[in-house]
């Protein structure tokens, strides 16, 4: 077991989520500690996205609790969870394609009233993502997939999250772009933001994560440090494309 170094920032206790009669997540437990980068890996349809959406408040729970910074979040609607510090970059990026790049970023700072702080954070995002700055007045729908992913991450950062949930940031992107995205994710983690990353690219995700959770048909079947999971023969055969 990993040491319980401090109070968990996020805890899922017996979390269950149902979709039209089918239980997509079946009572999972998970704990995230401040400043940690953890990943949730597993095959398509294992319930990873459902788990993230439930944490963000987009889906009602069928059972269990979402505990964030010691508080039970179950009754809190999605739009109030951002103010608590939870930002989700959804599957497929969720860019507002008809808004400009700048308007997308401003939407990220929608709940903030500190104009000076927002401008400073915009500059920080530009530093991290120079491509985004070049395209500020452009309609966001015209960006490439990689640029849209960068924009989605930058937009989430503008809310100054304490916990960042990333749903398949590598989806549909060329390997070179994926590498860049992961560099950005790592630099966000270095700033002290706690990150829960959902990935199908298990190899890459585990390499960057201090802790990994393996999900299989709605349940967490394996937990361990990124290194340990990378070395685990079961993980290697099931998710890393090796014949065991």
């Amino acid at each position: 077991m990993l040491p319980d170094q401090s109070q968990a920032i996020l805890e899922l206790r017996g979390l269950s989520v149902s979709y039209g009669g089918i239980q997509a997540v079946k009572g999972i437990d998970l704990a995230l500690f401040p400043g940690e980068l953890a990943c949730l890996i597993g095959a398509n349809g294992a319930g990873k996205t459902t788990t993230l959406n439930a944490i963000a408040g987009l889906l009602p729970l069928a059972g269990g609790d979402v505990i964030y910074a010691g508080e039970r979040l179950n009754p809190v609607p999605a739009h109030k969870r951002l103010a608590a510090g939870i930002a989700l970059v959804p599957e497929g990026r969720g860019i507002f394609t008809r808004l400009t790049v700048e308007e997308n970023l401003r939407m990220g700072a929608y709940i903030r009233r500190d104009k000076v702080g927002v401008e400073a954070d915009m500059e920080k995002v530009f530093e991290m993502l120079p491509r985004v700055k070049e395209r500020l007045p452009q309609v966001a729908g015209t960006l490439s997939g990689g640029e849209q992913q960068m924009l989605a991450i930058g937009r989430a950062l503008l809310s100054r999250p304490r916990l960042l949930l990333l749903d398949e940031p590598s989806m549909g992107l060329a390997p070179i772009i994926v590498e860049k995205i992961f560099e950005v994710i790592q630099s966000v983690a270095r700033e002290g933001v706690t990150i829960l990353l959902v990935e199908q690219n298990a190899n890459l995700a585990l390499e960057f994560s201090s802790r990994g959770y393996v999900m299989e048909s709605g349940a967490i079947t394996l937990t361990g440090s990124g290194e340990a999971l990378l070395a685990d023969p079961k993980v290697r055969s099931a998710y890393l494309g090796e014949i065991g």
Partner: protein
Amino acid sequence: METLLQQLINGLTIGSVYALVALGYTMVYGILGLINFAHGDLVMVGALSALQTMMFLMGVAPGMSPIAMLTLALLVAMPVCMMLGFTMERLAYRRLRNAPRLAPLITAIGMSFLLQTIAMILWGRSYHTFPQLISTTPLQPIAGVFITPVQIAILITSALIMVALILLVTRTRVGRAMRATAENHKVASLMGVDTNAVIAMTFVVGAALAAVAGVMFASNYGIAHYGMGFMPGLKAFTAAVLGGIGNLGGAMLGGITLGLVESFGAGYIEDLSFGFLNSSYQDIFAFIILGLVLIFRPTGLLGERVSDRA
């Protein structure tokens, strides 16, 4: 030439009223994919509640200036319609947010009947004379063209309202939240937007525009009646489709275009039909346009996407 200019003025006037109503249709469609067929009846409620206010004021303060009276009437009519728009959304449409598309559509038609029936109970079945507080006597003709003070007031007021609405939607934080919600409710809520509040607000803004349009309509024609919202509502819906439903600029363009087509049509329909039809058939133009748009350009003049919803 004089007829042409005259019809241009008449068309612009009625077109701006259509545009104000069309904006309400298009904003609600843009954010919910719902055609709120009860929207036209808000025009009627606006006119009749303004009428009621004026009657009351004439009783208690007979010497009141017409402009002050009209302003007060608007200050009553607008909140009445805004509250109605809010209530409709809250009680009926919100519950049907995830229902099949046909359910909210039929509910909207039912809502339209409900509003008309309530108005009929409150104000009776007869036509009421609407006090024309702004004169409808034409000014000194310029180059043979007559323009009335009420037409000038309608043109100026609606232009100002449309500019204000565009600024609200494109330049403000709330407007950005409206556009974000229109594109994706879920992601907007992830940005911290209370999408229910934004949707309610869209209904309220549309209803306020309908109230103003109702007062303009009644002031221009001098008549108010419980069924008066039906035709302008249908025409404004046509205008919204013509411009590209969901698109604000489209609703304005569609409204003005429809007003002009109708006005020119009414002016020339006798010649066009070799004396068979007269100008009382002017309503056919709106529906000819609706038919043509739906056949040849279902996305409308400025619409980018083909709608996949009812």
